[in-house]
Symmetry: C2
Subunit: 331 residues, 2 copies
């Protein structure tokens, strides 16, 4: 049916993607017009869409398995920030001529591994050709108990501000990829690069925060920017102590080389940790959950009445740190 040696859309789907859809009957092996998905009674659908473009959101040279992991985990992180349990996803691939069978094999294998880890299944999508950069769009669907979705807009004056994991590794990993942190040891550079390529989605934490957190977001555009996205709709401000922000050993090494890297750590993005606010009275409960699920949770500051600034970051001496770029504008 096609004149070219290139596999048809049907072949591509059958070879690389239909196997990823096997565990969901309503995906119909990716052979029908749409997927039909049961949503458990008493739960609501949570949906989020993200697009990544080669040369804009990832490097042309980024390995296929890292591209797949980032694409899926960025959306999983959005589900985590809503407290949703992953359910299924659709995937749209605008492929260029240079995309090989090997690339597609590694890409789909990486998705398969993440499907097992995060409990999500491919249920549909589209495959098209593009003359220009590889462009990937993923719509992740999850579910949450009715009325229990976590929001950004509930932060209250007096709340503590928490983050999961460590902050800044994603942005520093980008610097490693750009060959801008050459003084770092290989193991530290590899650690940061891994964090940049393979963010950890914090779904296990998000699912536990209902009734405890007042406002939740994920750290995608940078700690300051994403906390600002909590403060604005909540009509509050936040004061962060920079020395409380949890750093990996590798990030500490980077800071010891040049303290100016605090800019990337606090202002850069790509961490995909959760940032949230909660009343001081639930601190112990949060601590217990953190220990139970093995995800560190660290208090980094407080919510205060609305000031002119959404987020103020003070250093150990109480002096404000001025971020040169307040988060990464993906657009």
């Amino acid at each position: 049916m096609t004149q070219s040696d290139r596999p048809t859309e049907f072949d591509l789907i059958r070879t690389y993607f239909a196997p990823l859809a096997e565990s969901e009957a309503g995906a119909f092996g990716l052979t029908d017009d749409a997927a039909v998905l049961p949503i458990e009674q008493g739960r609501e659908l949570v949906a989020t869409t993200d697009t990544i473009v080669a040369g804009v959101h990832f490097f042309e040279k980024t390995p296929a398995d890292a591209v797949a992991a980032k694409l899926l985990r960025v959306s999983l992180s959005d589900l985590a920030a809503m407290g949703a349990t992953p359910h299924s996803y659709t995937l749209s691939l605008a492929l260029t001529d240079v995309i090989s069978s090997d690339w597609l094999g590694a890409f789909s294998a990486s998705l398969g591994r993440d499907q097992d880890t995060y409990g999500i299944t491919l249920v549909g999508g589209d495959t098209v050709t593009t003359p220009g950069p590889l462009t990937l769009t993923l719509t992740a669907m999850g579910t949450v108990l009715k009325g229990e979705a976590l929001r950004r807009n509930g932060a209250e004056v007096g709340d503590d501000v928490y983050v999961s994991g460590t902050i800044g590794d994603g942005a520093l990993g980008l610097l490693v990829a750009l060959d801008k942190l050459t003084q770092l040891s290989k193991s530290e550079a590899d650690f940061l690069l891994d964090r940049y390529h393979y963010p950890r989605s914090r779904g296990n934490l998000g699912e536990r925060l209902f009734g405890l957190a007042h406002a939740v977001a994920d750290v995608s555009d940078g700690l300051a920017a994403d906390l600002g996205q909590i403060c604005q709709p909540s009509r509050v401000s936040a004061v962060i102590q920079s020395h409380l922000v949890p750093l990996s050993d590798a990030a500490k090494s980077v800071l010891s080389l040049d303290t100016q890297h605090i800019q990337q750590i606090l202002g850069g993005g790509d961490d995909y940790e959760l940032i949230f606010t909660a009343a001081p009275s639930v601190a112990e409960k949060l601590n217990n959950i953190s220990e139970e699920i093995g995800i560190p949770v660290t208090r980094i500051g407080s919510i205060v009445p609305e000031t002119g600034e959404d987020v103020v970051i003070n250093d150990e001496r109480g002096e404000a740190i001025l971020l040169l770029h307040n988060g990464f504008q993906h657009f």
Copy 2:
């Protein structure tokens, strides 16, 4: 926060897209990490994703409102083919530098009009930059009563084969856009171009076909190809009488100029009509529904036991028409 004069992602969303999300509370004005969507009890979610690329699926010069209409209606057509009622959609825009405020205004206004017509609401998405070409992905979500989704795989020997509306106008409209049908009158050319740019989604018909149709698909890749997609999973073949295929007056004019255009009419795509099979015993019921909803439904052939060919098309003299390209391979 941004150095450039270009509006930020937040500005773009607020100006052009948040107004499209107003009627769904769970879209949170497009300001949160994901949308939260209630699915009515007893119904299932139906999800489909389509991507269109400038220069591949539409012309660079295609007006913004036509791009928007095609993007949304292609997905609505998939929902229609499942018998689903439209619910909501996410939209991902990979925008190039040449996309202007005027373009975005016309694009979002067109989406707004179609939202009113088809009863669907924007609930989320992503906006990114791309060095080229403009790439748009839409995930449409609908709902269907549990167990009542229409499938492609239920065609039975002895079934009649039906199509809605008229066939071939989309493919002929593409020829008009390519300046390849210059002998046509202006009004006929405009009619075909309109059908190419603004397909009609047949949701009103799809919603009525449960319990009547055995297998349903939409005509996106061409009558023969899409009927083949019914025959293969149903393990049957189809025999179509070409003189029964319903044609618009404009398509009849094209055929009278050159009978070879039957190739585009039967093999081309972009009609977004429904093609379905049903037992002869429900013919009158289908006729009544067709009259009630004002969408023509025409019997064009029969389902026969599986032969070597999925679809055979005979002309009035009973001679087989050989399609030079059996449907349009989007990939």
